[in-house]
Symmetry: D2
Subunit: 177 residues, 4 copies
């Protein structure tokens, strides 16, 4: 089972990354840091006559990497009770891949993936992070991916995540069951 | 009471806009179309020594307009069970305004606002749009803004919203109670 | 299409009933008032060797009535952010019907039903009633019933529901789309 | 810190109890098993002229026990995506205590409590148990009690909970942070 981690954090070595490394150490699995890639926001042209404009950015490279793996771990700080902007932009663009003739088997491929989520927030994340968890669940449902588990950690200031013992433990057990 | 509508749609005259105009006609209130503005995604520098880098985009112009109004209506298509990317990027950047010395009264000002939400989605939005509603509720709680009401409409293809009679009616009654 | 309304309110002519009658007038459809019936709480004997004990109460009479209808409208006041106790007790007992040899086609029959929900609460029900809506959605998913719509009204003191114009309107349009 | 566990399970030694004992062993803390007590469902007489009828059951005995403790752990199997009927009936009746002249300091007393939740379900509880968690959160908000943490375990058949290693671990760490 090959694992790819999609990091949505805009800060290097932040709390979310720290928690994520408890599940997938830095030197294991494939780590994609969205902040290091250029991804344009979607323009909804699903119903445009000519379809979507071609966009010259890193989207397809990242999609190709993801499709080579069995497990996708989304790792995002909680920004305003949802995933980070860069992660949202990235996922929004999957709508475009869905209609791209170069990816005729996109949904079929995703259906085989197992998905995990790690999210970290500062404002009562075990409660206020729930909508984010539900969103990922719906995204998984849409693609018929199996949403296997999630960990929500609590941290605001740099380094604070080390105090959330429960989350660290959960992350280290993420793939266990 | 002055109303500003923040449109998160990336498509002109789409279903979300149509539904929104039932609540605030195009020639009433102030309409901001985020797609016509340049807003950069946030880089989380809350904890950087020098704070946030200055960014030369339209963020502050839009914030200034919003602060002049009493009612904020967020209008967004539901992309992947959450707000559109452009709206997420815009709201993420409010974190930066919170720490901007030019906006010492930002929170204090927002506390006086009434907030409404109109969202349109194609995949069982009355259920699967719920996390989005909860997010806006938490955002309002954070800023101590009053979340007064929301309408979730159902539409996928262009023009389809006209069939969601319940949503159209609700939108037209949005400010009634 | 025959409609049965299951009233979970413990108070006669309360706000929830008033709102419900906007959708299904008292003299139309079949109205079951759970408070007028004797239903025992479930004892979980799904895994007991002898199965469930026979219970002499009104459960099966009500189930029989429900099965004769096409549309089920659950109508409940929001007690502590969930359905009323009597309604919970009633629904809990469906687990027993699921294993009752007298009802071999229970799930099959329910699969054909359309379900609606009307709920009334006093504490920000449009937000805090959301978990209740989600529960009914999951219940419908379990039985593969179609969850067609819901109205959440706001009222606390007797009669107060008349001021929630939006909810009254929504209730009157409940079966429209 | 004195802990009281309120068990909502209707089955002795079930999965929910097993998971709960990882957090509070049987011989520690105070354990209330609702199934061993007689509690009547509420009749909403909040607005009746004479107020609530006196009811001769175990409600006040249990309330008195709870008020002597600092930590309340609610332990419930997930029945139809919410708490068990007996627990719902019990909590519904708190509305009556709120208006009972014998308990003038009920809310004031509860405000000092820390609350935890342990719930076990068989149908994707990490997702479908979310509304239950949110309900408890709102209940805690209402009484201004501090909702400190929760564990949702997965089990359906007797004994199955031993396989949910993550939940067992979480339960054992419940009071740690």
């Amino acid at each position: 089972m090959k694992t790819v981690v999609i990091h949505g954090s805009t800060r290097i070595n932040g709390n979310t990354e720290y928690l994520t490394y408890q599940a997938v150490p830095k030197d294991k699995g494939t780590h994609i840091y969205l902040r290091d890639h250029n991804i344009h926001p979607i323009v909804d042209q699903r119903h445009a006559e000519e379809g979507f404009d071609k966009i010259n950015d890193d989207l397809k490279d990242l999609i190709d990497i993801i499709l080579e793996h069995d497990i996708i771990l989304f790792s995002t700080p909680i920004y305003w009770y949802s995933m980070s902007g860069p992660m949202k932009i990235f996922i929004d663009r999957w709508s475009q891949i869905l209609r791209d003739p170069e990816y005729p088997h996109f949904r079929e491929e995703l259906r085989k993936k197992k998905v995990y989520l790690i999210a970290v927030g500062g404002d009562k994340p075990s409660i206020k992070g729930i909508p984010l968890v539900q969103q990922f669940n719906y995204i998984c449902q849409f693609y018929d991916m199996s949403f296997e588990g999630y960990v929500v950690g609590r941290a605001s200031k740099p380094g604070q995540i080390v105090h959330d013992k429960r989350a660290l433990k959960q992350a280290s057990l993420l793939f266990d069951t």
